[in-house]
């Protein structure tokens, strides 16, 4: 049923766009609670984005067109990625065009443009942040690919919806390889989304920042798009994690409006749990020195490769 598929696709895109800032707000709220602070409103990211859209944009002297285009490219890449990742249903028309490897490429595109834009102005902070981002990125990307390879070897396909569908519908089995890769994925998620062991999302004007350093020159609608894209990235990563490791409850049938509707509260529950545990991890761990980041990501890669090897040997 073509219409139903299109509807699923549209629903997923809208849900991702709408819920991403909410998810970020939830993580921030949990973090504040755990740190004995008064929590900011869960709607704060929305207010921030709305406020920024009303402001007038200021652009640095000597900025090239790349600097103006980058927020749209980054945001577009994230939206497209949200369209490929199955969060509620697996019948997505978009996914014929791109599999999981293309998804990793899409995320890399966003990273490259963000870094280029940060270097474009020529401020010290911008290029510093860009370099660090590329360092984290080039170490995290192979780990992410390995994670995806393990899941695709189990399901014999690299299409993310097919993997999720296969894992959700087959008989329950223990996969040590998937457990390893889940740990690896968690580490990659933390590193890629500028979370605490690698970067502190709450810090500004500090020598250790990575992600925020790249956004310093942006203002108004550009900044709003960048921040929205960052929220979307976190949401996307969470949804990749659900598709690979806890796909149960996703709508797999061809035309099943009821299961699709039922998957919405389930996705919300998964996101709530993930956000809370993310806040827990961030509260319990201390930020690593930048020079320790390769070690952190090397262990992510190690976990993923171990998962792959264990899968090859044990078939599990």
């Amino acid at each position: 049923m073509k219409l139903m598929d299109l509807l699923t696709q549209a629903l997923e895109l809208i849900a991702a766009l709408a819920a991403a800032p909410l998810f970020l707000g939830w993580v921030n709220q949990c973090r504040a609670w755990l740190q004995n602070r008064r929590a900011p409103s869960i709607w704060l990211p929305y207010r921030g984005i709305r406020k920024l859209f009303y402001k007038d944009a200021v652009i640095a002297e000597g900025a090239s067109p790349l600097f103006r285009a980058a927020p749209y490219i980054v945001f577009g890449a994230m939206v497209l990625a949200a369209g490929i990742i199955p969060s509620m249903g697996t019948r997505l028309p978009f996914t014929i065009a791109a599999d999981a490897i293309a998804l990793v490429g899409l995320l890399a595109t966003a990273r490259v443009f963000q870094s280029l834009a940060a270097m474009d102005i020529g401020t010290a902070f911008g290029s510093l942040g860009a370099r660090r981002e590329m360092m984290v990125g080039f170490l995290a990307e192979p780990a992410l690919l390995m994670v995806i390879f393990v899941a695709s070897m189990i399901s014999a396909t690299t299409a993310l919806p097919a993997i999720a569908e296969n894992l959700a519908t087959q008989q329950l089995a223990l996969y040590p390889s998937l457990a390893f890769t889940a740990v690896a994925f968690m580490l990659v998620l933390l590193a890629e989304n500028a979370r605490i062991p690698i970067d502190n999302p709450a810090t500004h004007l500090e020598l250790t920042m990575i992600h925020e350093a790249m956004l310093l020159e942006y203002s108004a609608r550009h900044l709003a798009l960048m921040e929205w894209a960052a929220a979307l990235k976190l949401f996307n990563y969470a949804c990749i994690g659900f598709a690979l490791f806890v796909p149960w409850g996703i709508a797999t049938g061809a035309d099943s409006p009821i299961t699709l509707l039922a998957s919405i509260p389930l996705l919300a529950a998964k996101l709530a749990v993930t956000g809370a545990s993310l806040a827990c991890i961030e509260t319990m761990s201390a930020k690593l020195r930048v020079f320790r980041a390769p070690e952190f990501l090397a262990s992510a890669f190690l976990f993923a490769v171990l998962g792959l090897l264990v899968h090859l040997l044990l078939g599990a």
Partner: protein, 233 residues
């Protein structure tokens, strides 16, 4: 995978966790944690033995599980902890390679071990034959642990972890060694740790350190020996 019975899946999980623990030991810089990891490895071995005993109905496996519990989970870690306290060594500051490099070497070793175990696994007829590769990997990784460490303490832990790997290999290849061999090996290990404990004191008496680097040169040449550069880890 979906066809495999649940207890075999659990056994596979144990095997995978053993491999993971070997890597954790390889990466660990604190001796106290290293000994704790050894204890965890022993408990995993215990669980695996019990599962296998329950699955195959072999009586002697229960006995060897009891031996594992007594020796590898309780006695040896306790002895090592006592040694650490009395020798006041808590850190192993100088692995020969940095951690990431050791990890990469470890990965290569695992691939090699899996290749090595393939013909053995083809010969074995047990349900757990796939885990032989993991046992070989654990043994070789313990070798790497011993090679990359300088301090005597961590080398002993590597040695014991190697014995664990051998035990697991025997278990997955032939459902355990004959009881007499197992007792013999257990006694050997126990005596080895006792003797090595005495050695530690002797080494420290002689050189004021547990760094085995000092044992590499003869006494007459000691004046020529350059002190090892303090590498920052």
């Amino acid at each position: 995978m979906t066809g495999t019975p649940f207890d075999l899946q659990l056994l596979n999980l144990c095997a995978a966790l053993l491999l993971l623990l070997s890597f954790a030991m390889l990466a660990q810089r604190r001796i106290v944690t290293l000994v704790n990891l050894l204890a965890v490895q022993g408990s995993l071995l215990l669980v695996a033995t019990l599962l296998l005993a329950w699955r195959t109905g072999e009586r002697h496996l229960y006995l060897s599980a009891a031996l594992t519990l007594a020796l590898k989970v309780v006695l040896l870690p306790w002895m090592l902890h006592r040694l650490i306290r009395r020798l006041q060594v808590y850190w192993d500051t100088e692995p020969l390679l940095n951690i990431s490099g050791t990890m990469l070497v470890g990965l290569v070793v695992v691939v090699f071990a899996f290749g090595l175990a393939q013909p053995i696994a083809a010969l074995a007829s047990t349900a757990t034959r796939n885990a032989i590769g993991i046992a070989v990997a654990v043994i070789l990784l313990s070798f790497v642990t011993m090679i990359t460490r300088r301090k005597a303490m961590s080398q002993v832990v590597g040695f014991l972890s190697m014995e664990n790997g051998l035990f697991f290999g025997a278990m997955s290849a032939t459902y355990g060694m004959p009881m007499i061999v197992e007792f013999g090996v257990a006694l050997d290990v126990l005596v080895a740790v006792l003797v090595l404990g005495i050695f530690f004191f002797q080494i420290r008496e002689q050189f004021d350190s547990l760094d085995l680097h000092h044992l590499e040169s003869l006494n007459e040449y000691q004046s020529r020996r350059s002190t090892p550069a303090q590498k920052e880890t």
